[in-house]
Symmetry: C2
Subunit: 661 residues, 2 copies
């Protein structure tokens, strides 16, 4: 079985929305507005969840919520159960009545009911232990010996090797510094020393490397850090290699951002005088900062960290290591290496002890990097017989198709739309970014939820997908992404950049001007999602399979977790499959880095994955251009065949609108 | 066969000494006095060879010499063929008449005729090539590849590995820096690169390490340096690994001398604050200086040196590497390690290119170091079936006994007498040191030769051996090393430190006072040579053999080359064996380091030597104390059995003296 297994969640509460008779399960602590959006129930709401617009009034008919009362609600209304949906927090099962402008809303809106993929329970130390695979590459072995005498005055290393052999350990090479420290360690430890051993990756004929010796028994403290080196953020975890416990997790922005938001602009910057060094230092400083925070929060000393596992895309990997990245960008897109040897972490400026070694995830290709390998390994698809599609959604969406027998991968040139790039009011998923959206199909009035429940100031990737899906279903945009200006909706207008939809009026925003979604924005999304979908199709066709053969879809990346799956299918970004076939693994890089720190067997499997994976350059792959063209449509030019459920939904919605119209 | 083979010398000249009718072969360019001393012919000479005392007058009866005339010789005498023996240089066969004080000198002096051991012709690149063993551990392999394309955009390392496989090369690990430099090297070299490969030592399951990549074809330049890291001096050679040619040899004093003359005082200094670092830097600076001189004299760039092989004793090794040396000195004398991994040379401050690796010779024990292993390897005794005694004479004389099947070694606590230590006027073999000596057995008048032919200022090890042997044979000291004061010789007297012999009167010296050899000095030599001889005996007895079983004796070390073998046997320092069984290998460390640079097979054999060699701690070895006590006699308490030839000589000399007396 794979590394990602289904999970039990915190006990959800049931939220029953009337008059639609829609019931949804939601997490306690979420708001009624969030649950409504999840259910596809539209409630007007224009302030992002901050509570000041007062439009999202609902009535709690049964059960209890917390909060939801502000000066916008009169005492009498409050007594009658009226609450602001954006402020009312779920604590138990409730029945919520939504004021509707028309009973016909019901028909159209029901079609938007969102599905929810499983959030995988990630494999951890317990599972690895149960399977006999908890075997960290970094081991501490304590040995004792008789003191030397004139009749046995072998050298200190020979004495250590004998003692290690008695413990069943053999086949060693010594790091010079371990030899250097050994004479005093033996004597200071009164002929007991702790050796720190870095195991070889099993698939190669390597040897155990003694990287450190310490006097006495220090085996109770053996730590590793797992690092996800992302283009935008860096994340790190400290792992106790004795227990497998993750002692803490911290993240921060990758300071390289100030030299460019995406990998291409970083590569361009690296070509400037001193650029590569600046980028290298920026990444290292970001990681060092996260590690320091981790150490402070967990109370451990970074000097006790003997191993750092790291996963990043190919550009991030080469920038971190200071390896010339420019050929990643230039056709024919050649990375420097798949594998890097374990290297002293301090060699690159990581503020870890001298003996700590860096294990970098290998890359498959210039745009299929260690982050993807890490995610694939973490998802376990390389051990699963089911045909699986692995999607890492980001600037360059990476796609892997295969199972335990074979794997094909490709980087889709999706562009930065999913990260808010190329979108007029696009932004990252930070405070004030619209991240969820619904729309009243009759009036065109929206409900928006922002990150941090702040006044809106832009829209992020998941918001973009939700918005386009909702506008599409409401007939406000058509399948080619063009606005329907004829309906005369107040929020749909001709703007300075062409037709646009007003997500929030100036007064409701932080930016003091109308926050809009333009047709050009939609076109960017169309091209991005088309590139992704064409990649799935091309990889599958390359091995004589189709979308319908997929038995499992794994979504990796922080972004993957925040998107509404049903809406992503609706716009044609995700293949239309039963929702239960989808699994989120969250931050695949960090997951993989953590697992590799815990299990040398998994570290070995990483090599198997890289060796097994065939990279396709889509720009020259047969059929890709046709697939791409066919995907320039919501959800697809072959919508009826490839997206039958969505196609049916849209027909249904269109009919309902026509009846009203 | 072994690595040391007999040599042909420069064509010698014949020097016929009358009235003794002794003929000796000597090297052209040497002086008549040196030839006389070699022949055992005594000529009074007290100024060390500078020519100012004028005592060493001889007459050239046939043939021609160069020089030999100063203001001490009248024109008439000069015309008659009179020359000063210390200034007359040999150019052709000559007959030399020595003025004798008594015809009976002849009898006694003849007994002193010195034997000469073979100077081994050292094995070099030609012999290695003929035997198929010229295979340097450092190889440059040039490969070319097709440029990448979209249909073949493997990473740069994968492309290199394919190209290397086509050349029959496989099983690689990459040094990180080689990966780092590869992207630009491939492209700058237009898809031709030169890889520098460090081979694994064959006996272990290692892999080829790619330590450097360069654009284009740089294979015409592949250099190594071989370094002898001695306690007193450092020597280095630059070797062209393509041809095997030694491009140059340079040496200098080890600057560690200012922190102590012997290894013990260095270890003591290392224990002071900052001491180890100071010693490490001193050695490194000395070597860097020698390397710079080498580069200047040979016109090569040190950046092209990819490998440094180094041999030194265990203390020198640990001090150079910065490894705590104190346990070498403390009982039970434990070194840190036998083997050190190949390490980046710049790691220790050697001013070589970043990719250059240091291959350090392994040690067997605290006082049997890499210098001995190197010498043994260079001598080839580990491949020879003959029972061989290997002697490295220095502060701690190291001794190895064995053959291709087994080897036993020990360090004899000989003390510093052979290097002039513990001797009242002892000094190193530098200018003004008495290095050879003969004495008129009747008058007790000496002939002395000094290093550099300068006025004497002290006596070095070889001078000490020659002096004691001559005084012993002349009956001026007895077999216990006591002076015979009863003969009333003017140079034998009671001094402030007890009985002593005046080697040079104050006026004949640089130091302005009588230069003497005291009984305490002789006793120091007696103990030192006894320690050596007892070591030979004890090692042989340990395997049921005796001195008489020895088929070969190899003398290593610069000192070994300058001693007069017959005189070393006479005092019991060397075992009495036919002289043709002795071989000098000169600087065994440098020889071994050079051979290892040229031959990875020999590098592998080094490991075999270390693994094969059994170290004996003499202080606890059975029989050692008895052997030591028996050796406290010139030549030995069992002189008649162990030194029959010497014993007979001495009897003969005693009889001759008695006849005169």
């Amino acid at each position: 079985m794979g590394q990602a297994v289904s999970s039990s969640q915190d006990k959800p509460v049931r939220v029953h929305f009337e008059p639609f008779n829609i019931v949804v399960e939601a997490q306690p602590g979420g708001t009624v507005l969030e649950a409504a959006m999840e259910a596809g129930v539209h409630i007007n709401a224009s302030c992002g969840g901050e509570g000041f617009c007062g439009k999202c009034r609902v009535t709690i008919e049964q059960g209890r919520v917390e909060g939801g009362i502000s000066e916008q609600i009169s005492a009498a209304d409050a007594d009658a159960g009226v609450r602001q949906a954006c402020l009312a927090t779920l604590v138990e099962d409730v029945v919520v009545r939504v004021p509707v402008e028309s009973a016909l809303d019901k028909v159209a809106l029901k079609a938007l009911a969102a599905g929810s993929a499983q959030v995988a329970k990630l494999i951890g130390a317990e599972e690895l232990k149960a399977e006999g695979r908890f075997d960290p590459a970094l081991a501490k072995v304590v040995v004792s010996a008789e003191p030397p005498s004139l009749s046995d005055n072998r050298n200190d290393v020979a004495r250590l090797l004998s003692a290690l052999r008695e413990k069943g350990e053999s086949d060693f090479v010594f790091r010079f510094e371990a030899i250097r420290d050994l004479p005093n360690a033996w004597r200071d430890g009164q002929w007991t020393v702790t050796t720190t051993i870095l195991r070889p990756v099993g698939r190669k004929s390597g040897r155990n490397q003694v990287i450190r010796v310490e006097p006495g028994d220090t085996s109770d403290c053996n730590l590793a850090v797992a690092i996800d080196l992302g283009t935008t953020t860096v994340w790190a975890q400290i792992i106790d290699l004795n227990s497998g416990q993750v002692l803490g997790t911290e993240g921060d922005f990758n300071a390289q951002i100030s030299f460019g938001e995406d990998v291409i602009s970083r590569i361009v910057h690296a070509a400037k005088p001193g650029g590569l060094k600046r980028l290298q230092e920026a990444a290292v400083n970001s990681i060092n900062g996260v590690l320091k925070t981790l150490a402070r929060h967990t109370g451990v000393s970074l000097d006790d960290v003997g191993m750092a596992t790291m996963a990043g895309n190919t550009t991030m990997t080469q920038l971190f290591l200071g390896v010339e990245p420019k050929y990643i960008r230039l056709e024919p897109y050649v990375p420097a290496a798949a594998y890097y040897p374990p290297i002293k972490a301090s060699r690159f400026g990581l503020e870890l002890a001298d003996h700590a070694h860096l294990l970098m995830f290998p890359s498959v290709a210039s745009y299929v990097g260690g982050d993807v390998v890490s995610g694939v390994m973490g998802s376990g698809m390389h051990k699963d017989e089911r045909l699986t599609l692995f999607i890492d959604l980001g600037t360059n969406g990476e796609v892997v198709v295969g199972n335990r027998d074979w794997m094909a991968c490709a980087a889709a040139s999706a562009g930065p739309a999913f990260e808010g790039g190329g979108i007029k009011f696009g932004m990252r998923a930070s405070k004030g970014a619209i991240e969820n959206f619904s729309v009243n199909p009759i009036t065109g009035e929206p409900a928006i939820i922002t990150v941090g429940k702040a006044k809106p100031k832009g829209i992020c990737g998941s918001g973009l997908i939700a918005t386009v899906a909702a506008l599409l279903l409401a007939g406000i945009i058509d399948e080619r992404g063009h606005y329907n200006l004829e309906r005369g909706l107040p929020r749909v207008r001709q703007g300075e950049d062409g037709p646009e939809y007003v997500l929030a009026w100036a007064g409701d925003t932080q930016i003091g001007r109308d926050l809009t979604l333009t047709e050009m924005d939609i076109d960017n999304l169309l091209r991005a999602k088309g590139a992704m979908y064409a990649a799935y199709m091309t990889l599958l066709e390359g091995v004589g399979l189709t979308i319908h053969d997929l038995e499992r879809v794994i979504l990796a990346g922080g972004f993957g977790q925040s998107i509404n799956l049903e809406r992503a299918i609706m716009i044609g970004l995700m293949p239309e499959l039963p929702l239960e076939r989808f699994t989120f693994v969250g931050n695949g890089s960090l997951l993989g880095a953590r697992l590799v720190a815990m299990s040398n067997q998994l570290r070995t499997e990483v090599g198997d994955i890289v060796d097994k994976m065939t990279n396709f350059e889509l720009s020259v792959a047969p059929g890709y251009m046709g697939n791409y063209t066919g995907s320039q449509f919501f959800p697809h030019t072959e919508g009826k065949q490839l997206f039958p459920r969505t196609w049916e939904h849209m027909q249904e919605a269109r009919r309902a609108l026509k009846e009203i119209g």
